[in-house]
Amino acid sequence: MTFHLTSRAVLLASALAFAPAAFAETPADTLVVAHTIDDIISLDPAQSFEFSGNDVNNNTYDRLVDFDPLDPEAGFQPSLAESWEVSEDGLSITFTLREDATFHSGNPVRAQDAAWSLQRAVKLDKTPAFILTQFGFTAENVDQMITFEGNTLTLTMDKPYAPSFVLNCLTANIASVVDMETVMANEADGDLGNGWLNTNEAGSGAYVLAAWRPNEQVQLTAYEDYWQGAPTMKRVIVRNVAESSAQRLLLEQGDIDVARNLTPTDVESIASVEGVTIQDEPRGRILYMGLNQKDELLSNPAVVEAMKHLVDYEGITSSFLKGQFVTHQSFLPRGYLGALDETPWTYDIEKARQILTDAGIEGGTITTRVRDLREYIDVAQTLQAAMGQVGLTLEIEQMTGAQVLDAYRAREVPIFLGEWGPDYSDPNTNAATFAYNPDNSDEAAAVGLLAWRNAYEVPAEMNEATVAATLEQDTDTRAAMYQDIQRQYQAEAPIVPLFQRIEQVGMGDGVQNWWSGGAISSVMYRQVTKGE
């Protein structure tokens, strides 16, 4: 009897398994993306500072100015603001808002909403707030500094900042315009709607948040009344798929349209598959080597100089980092205003040995901590081998990302290997972290600054140059100033940019106009189409 039942169950099961219905291609009006999205903590644009959260915000909210995903090189463009004017003293900018935009609630987008959104972000003071507060806004003064009248909004700053600096910052996620009435209707305990917006959305963007299941999926549906026209893709589904090989299989089977986390191995094997293309897009993240100046050996300028020649730039980018990084030796990523493309350092063991001999250094040992990610470990081991050839011993301790970050912020990582992603699309974002450190004392606790974390006492004139570049009104002059800072930085700084990240996106043939956000922004779906 038992046996009889079992065999019937097995038959039934195999019949089901063979049923073909479930494995059709993705629907023509739906874009399905596989991505690791387990970093989303909050969807409130005043708080969200993780890649995947920003990806969602960038599609559900608009900002005063924004990038054109079909022409990102053009830089910031009018969006909710039709035009703007800088006052003669350079202290304020007045934006004129368009009048045909509406929020997903149906409410019109008013200058008042935009002003309130910026004020709200400053008052909430979550991690990304510094992108706005660096213009002199505080919780106390922001109601006077950011004002509206009719359909105009005026920002008044504490200094005459470069207009390109201000406008670049306004393309950041934190400058998203939220629907004041909807948010305030959901306020609890004076949190300015933060609790509600963590899991909901109140924007005017091309997409409406239909569902978010943490670590599983984000679903967006097209906003039909979008002021730039309803997007072609009526649904966007982003699925959390952690494994590269799983993403690859899904793509090969046509169950997804886009795979965003493919390893070099999977990229290589999928590239030959018919119906699949790989798109390379430079991202803003810089893989760098921080040489902590608290370490006696590393604080020797000769060691710093030698280390720059102990990195096998070409070997690394052509082997294990293949296709996912390119050599880049300055702190501004390609794609940024003023980014420097010069690569002064080459892998040269002899030269490194000579530099050390001239300085009278005969070996030494450094113990460092590296995040247990395959690529960082590989880079560390390559470095270890090269250092070994010149008599320097590198001992590597592997740790989780959280542990390394903790130690790094406590200035306890001798040689840091890891990535830094820009916070907003202006060159000041990296200049202010790599090349600015006004107080190098432990008490300063400037944990946000990479220079401080590596105990790098930035020379006074470089600190000043970094500040001056934020005030330069002429954009070309400003770009030249950043190039100067980067050259000086290359010559002497103990924080050594090595590579820039490339995102290799696997896509089904039909997908057109995909843009992951390039070096400067987050992904944008509204321009994406799927042909036959």
Partner: protein
């Protein structure tokens, strides 16, 4: 008689509750001494010291450990497991979402393991040294020595990638995801409740591969245990007696011997089920299965102690329930208690 049984059940529950409390205490302490800073996870890499301090206090980390633990226990008793710092959601909501996914997978896996493992073990014992016995041994050996992630990837590659017989990673295909009303959180059950046959087929095609994989591992264990229990029974005197009495070999093995190993077998199955509930982490990751195992692991790696503690309570409670169930089954199956 009934009162004594009630008292012993109450005793079991009390001791299990204490076990659970101890488990929580240990997990809590491990969580607090772990060299991972949960505040950093919340405020991120770029936070200033002031923002960091504000979050530190908001999370109650400035309180003494004892106070933190007592507060936590108090909250748990009121059904509040706190908020997860890696999803930003209440832990209870997270668990309500991830647990059914794991339960569904583990149940089907155990079912496969039992339905195939028990007969395999019985036959292997009855025909000791025969072909089936050899096969069973190889099956068990492979099950013990093959890394689960490798088998999982191979399974995906062959049955999904090459043959297209089963659905890919995830619990459902995109067309069906979220389409069936959520009643139990178990997609197979929910689609049956909704009477949505295509959704059921889709969910089945997604679960069958990971469940078979887990089933295979529990099969390897269950068949081996069944075999050794059976061998022990078959050497007993009453079996010889039964045979002498002229009972058919089939009746001797399937009715008498199997009936007598039912009790230890229940324990084995319960244990195997319990370990599938907590230990299917790798399977969940390979198949992008949003379950409890990957939830706890992710929580652990990011210092998300509320998530880890919440998950621990659930796993602990599962063991409590499984223990109670097998206890009750014992009484039910044990001929001496009737």
């Amino acid at each position: 008689m009934r009162r004594r049984r009630a008292r012993s059940v109450a005793g079991t529950i009390l001791s299990l509750a204490l076990t659970l409390l101890g488990l929580l205490l240990v997990t809590f302490i491990i969580g607090r001494v772990m060299p991972i800073d949960p505040v950093l996870k919340v405020v991120g890499d770029r936070a200033t010291q002031a923002q960091y301090d504000a979050a530190y206090i908001a999370m109650g980390l400035d309180q003494p450990l004892v106070v933190q633990f007592l507060t936590y226990i108090g909250d748990v008793l009121r059904g509040d497991f706190g908020r997860s710092i890696s999803t930003g959601q209440p832990v209870s909501a997270d668990i309500a979402r991830v647990f059914p996914a794991t339960l569904e997978l583990a149940t089907l896996g155990t079912l496969i393991g039992v339905v195939m493992g028990v007969p395999l073990g019985v036959i292997a014992a009855a025909r000791r040294g025969g072909i089936i016995d050899q096969v069973a041994r190889v099956v068990a050996l492979v099950g013990y020595s093959m890394p689960i992630f490798w088998l999982g990837l191979m399974g995906l590659l062959i049955f999904y990638g090459m043959l297209g017989w089963v659905g890919g990673p995830g619990r459902q295909g995109i067309l069906y995801d979220g389409m069936v009303p959520n009643v139990t959180g178990m997609v197979l059950v929910d689609s049956l409740i909704a009477g949505d046959w295509p959704a059921f087929q889709d969910a089945f095609s997604h679960i069958i591969l990971p469940a078979s994989l887990l089933g295979y591992y529990s099969l390897a264990y269950i068949s081996r245990m069944t075999r050794s229990f059976m061998l022990e029974q078959l050497s007993q005197e009453y079996i010889t007696t039964a045979r002498v009495k002229g009972l058919s070999e089939r009746a001797v093995i399937w009715r008498h011997a199997l009936g007598n190993i039912a009790i230890p077998l229940v324990t084995v199955i319960a244990l195997s089920f319990g370990s599938l509930l907590e230990g299917s982490v790798l399977t969940e990751i390979i198949f992008s299965w949003p379950g409890l195992g990957s939830y706890i692991t992710r929580g652990l790696l990011s210092g998300d102690m509320n998530a880890v503690l919440g998950g621990t309570v659930v796993v602990g409670a599962c063991f409590v329930v499984l223990n109670l169930l097998s206890d009750i089954l014992y009484r039910f199956l044990d001929p001496r208690s009737t």
